[in-house]
């Protein structure tokens, strides 16, 4: 039988390998050859790309591999003999492939015969021992420092990626030979079928191959921890590179409870991501801008299209910046990708920002705003807005967030314009602003990219907001206008001419051009009004006598205004007095006088308040006019710039 078998081998039985088998066998072969030859990287891939028959596999690694198949030694001997390596003295590709196939047969329970390899077999399974781990570790020293961390992140994810047994075998065997890059790596990862996914897409991660390979070794066994422990120790020697990742080795058990969730982020992973986030952006509730994230993720050495796709997946709100949950999702995807998982078509539910925020509330962080992350997606806009508002309100003495400040990048412009829109809506209450942030997030999705808001417009809006309160102090309860109208009617038949200061029914706002003139005019009217007021109370004739009484009350009002007016006013009362005095007078009654004096005082206070309001409004108006001019000028300047730029852009 032996002779026949060896003869069979010598004649070279046609070895029918499926494509998947061919792939993994070639990789295993290359790995054994490469491991024997030393050094990862370019060597093995070239060996793989070259004709497989060009090299031989050294017996050392091959023996290790065979031992890893966990077949009894006797079976291994048989296989070795059968495949003809013993006969020819080395493991050429043919022998190697036959051996592998025999191993597969043996593992599936078939007898170790040549005939058994003729049929369809699953791929052989290899459980590597820790000694191999140490061997592989020798290669780790050559690896780039910072990037060693990443492959270790997802040790737990690799365990049970696919629950199908076939897939599992396939996944495991390709993972055993990460050193080889297949000759034909399609540039577009999305077209790679699953079974070939990991092996084909290692091109960019060649350096990392031994590392993830080592990382996975303990995981291949379901009883992870026992092997993981010793396996982890050599890893921990590289602790300076790995930092917190070594902790993740102990997470294998945790992740074995998530058999079909390679996209789930564990606590330690989350911590790592958060630390990385902090290193880029100290404020955990704020965003990482696109360029910063790009630089950071480019270090992972994934290809740009892949990174672009990962960004597309993880930036859920498409704002060009990564919030903390988005960043964690992106990082997780990158790590998964580096470990060979094909990227999903859409963001897995466990990586979505809402889920991440809900699953990992972080009370231990000092940022109190982060607690509000327990809400839905718009909430991540909310703390951002709140945060922005807090920062800005400190800076703005008007206690109003000025969005032009604190813009860290163009990525924030959309948010700024959104906040700008929100602010004028409800100026007084920031609470309403908070409730308006869902509106903001919607508007962000609609992307209002206008940047026409400036700080001056906000201040104007502010002042406009303040305007409404001030006019109300101008009460109409004393119906001063009405009284003046009536008095005017009363007085017109009498001596309108003599009262030089008398104007037609005084408007509520005296004419604009000069506030002083208006005040003067209003002052001038004051006395006729005062004169009229008592006369309104009494009859027209007794009013004339009240004028001397009206003078003392008018005097304190007079002194409020500018002294130069006093001269004119003092003249006017005299003329006013003289005027009415010339008119027929009637003896005033004391009671009427008292009533009229009370009314006089009421009217005087009302008039005083009105004048103050007038003054305030006049000042306000002049300031607003000034600002309007400035804004006009700005606009003109911008239009000029636009005109200058236009000839360049028009085709």
């Amino acid at each position: 039988m032996e002779a026949a078998a060896s003869g069979g081998c010598g004649s070279g039985p046609p070895l029918l390998l499926s494509e998947g088998e061919q792939q993994c066998y070639s990789e295993l072969f290359a790995r054994c050859a490469g491991a024997a030859g030393g050094g990862p990287g370019s060597g093995p891939p070239e060996a793989a790309r070259a004709a497989p028959g060009a090299s031989t596999a050294a017996s050392g690694p091959v023996a290790d591999l065979f031992r890893a198949s966990q077949l009894p030694a006797e079976t291994l001997h048989q296989i070795t003999e059968l495949c003809g390596a013993k006969r020819v003295g080395y493991f050429g590709p043919t022998q190697f492939y036959v051996a592998l196939k025999l191993i597969a047969a043996a593992q599936s329970g078939l007898p170790v015969r040549i005939e058994s390899i003729k049929c369809e077999l699953p791929l052989p399974r290899f459980m590597m021992s820790k000694t191999d781990a140490e061997i592989r570790f020798g290669n780790m020293a050559e690896l780039h420092g910072t990037k060693v961390q990443i492959p270790y992140l997802i040790t737990e994810k690799n365990t049970f990626k696919r629950m199908d047994d076939e897939d599992k075998q396939e996944t495991q065997s390709p993972t055993m030979s990460p050193l080889a890059s297949p000759p034909s790596s399609p540039p577009h990862y999305q077209r790679v079928p699953l079974s070939h996914g990991y092996s084909k897409l290692r091109k960019s991660t060649e350096q990392m191959h031994p590392a993830p390979y080592e990382a996975r070794q303990p995981l291949v066994q379901p009883e992870g921890p026992s092997l993981g422990g010793p396996g982890a120790k050599p890893l921990r020697h590289q602790a300076s590179l790995i930092r917190s990742f070594s902790v993740e080795r102990e997470l294998q058990d945790n992740n074995s409870s998530y058999p079909d969730e390679p996209w789930r982020i564990t606590e330690e992973q989350r911590e790592y991501y958060v630390n990385q986030f902090r290193s880029l952006q100290p404020d955990p509730s704020s965003f990482i801008s696109g360029s910063v994230a790009k630089n950071f993720f480019t270090k992972s050495k994934l290809s740009i299209p892949e990174l672009s796709y990962i960004w597309e997946l993880s930036d859920a709100d498409c704002d060009g910046a990564l919030s903390l949950p988005e960043f964690c999702a992106a990082f997780h995807l990158i790590v998964a990708r580096k470990n060979g998982y094909p990227l999903p078509e859409s963001l897995p539910p466990t990586l979505q920002p809402e889920y991440l925020q809900a699953a990992f509330p972080k009370p231990k962080w000092e940022c109190a705003l982060f607690d509000s992350y327990s809400e839905s997606v718009p909430a991540n806009q909310q703390p951002r807005d709140l945060n922005r508002m807090e920062k800005l309100s400190i800076k703005d003495m008007a206690d109003f967030p000025v969005p032009t400040q604190d813009v860290t990048g163009d990525d924030k412009q959309a948010l700024k314009s959104a906040t700008d829109e929100a602010l004028p809506k409800d100026i007084k209450q920031q609470l309403i602003f908070v409730s308006a942030t869902p509106k903001d997030s919607n508007s962000l999705k609609a992307r209002p990219r206008s940047r026409s808001y400036s700080s001056t417009s906000i201040e104007e809006a502010m002042k406009r907001g303040e305007d409404p309160p001030t006019p109300p102090p101008r009460p109409q309860k004393t119906h001063s206008r009405a009284s003046s109208l009536d008095l005017n009617k009363v007085f017109q038949p009498s001596v309108p001419a003599s009262k030089s200061g008398l104007l037609p029914p005084p408007p509520a706002l005296p004419p604009r051009p000069c506030p002083s003139q208006s005040e003067q005019a209003s002052e001038a009217e004051l006395h006729p009004q005062l004169n009229r007021a008592p006369s309104q109370a009494a009859e027209s004739s007794p009013a004339k006598k009240d004028i001397p009484y009206s003078q003392p009350p008018s005097k304190p009002i007079r002194r409020k205004f500018r002294p130069e007016n006093q001269a004119t006013e003092s003249q006017e009362p005299t003329t006013a007095v003289g005027g009415p005095a010339s008119v027929a007078t009637v003896k005033p009654h004391p009671t009427v006088q008292k009533q009229s004096s009370k009314q006089k005082k009421a009217i005087q206070t009302a008039i005083r308040k009105n004048k103050e309001a007038n003054a305030v409004l006049a000042r306000l108006n002049s300031e607003l006019q000034q600002q309007l001019k400035e804004v006009h000028q700005e606009r003109i300047a911008l239009e000029n710039q636009l005109e200058q730029l236009r000839p360049v852009t028009v085709l």
Binding site: W311, C318, L651
Partner: protein
Amino acid sequence: MAVCVAVIAKENYPLYIRSVPTENELKFHYMVHTSLDVVDEKISAMGKALVDQRELYLGLLYPTEDYKVYGYVTNSKVKFVMVVDSSNTALRDNEIRSMFRKLHNSYTDVMCNPFYTPGDRIQSRAFDGMVTSMMIQVC
């Protein structure tokens, strides 16, 4: 609905062009190319006015016997050209507008991606998906 969708950069080279897989796809490419002249004409017609006043949607650029070509220009002079089948009379102007709006939104999403440099071909899967949804085969 749409038979061919193209995104043309400011310098008139295509950033993205995709047609319904028929036997004569080159014809669509030519149509898009010729429509660029019409687009230029339309945007230069209102060149004097402010950019803000110019509408982004250009409307029907020109009809041919079998197809109609619609155009849309963004403020950064990136053009979207869409070729639709003339036999599909159910398509109203509003629908075309909404399709262009979706295109514009997806294009903005692509722009937001820091790994995308403006001027590159658009290879975003989300963009592809959106265009596919617009090009559902009616035949």
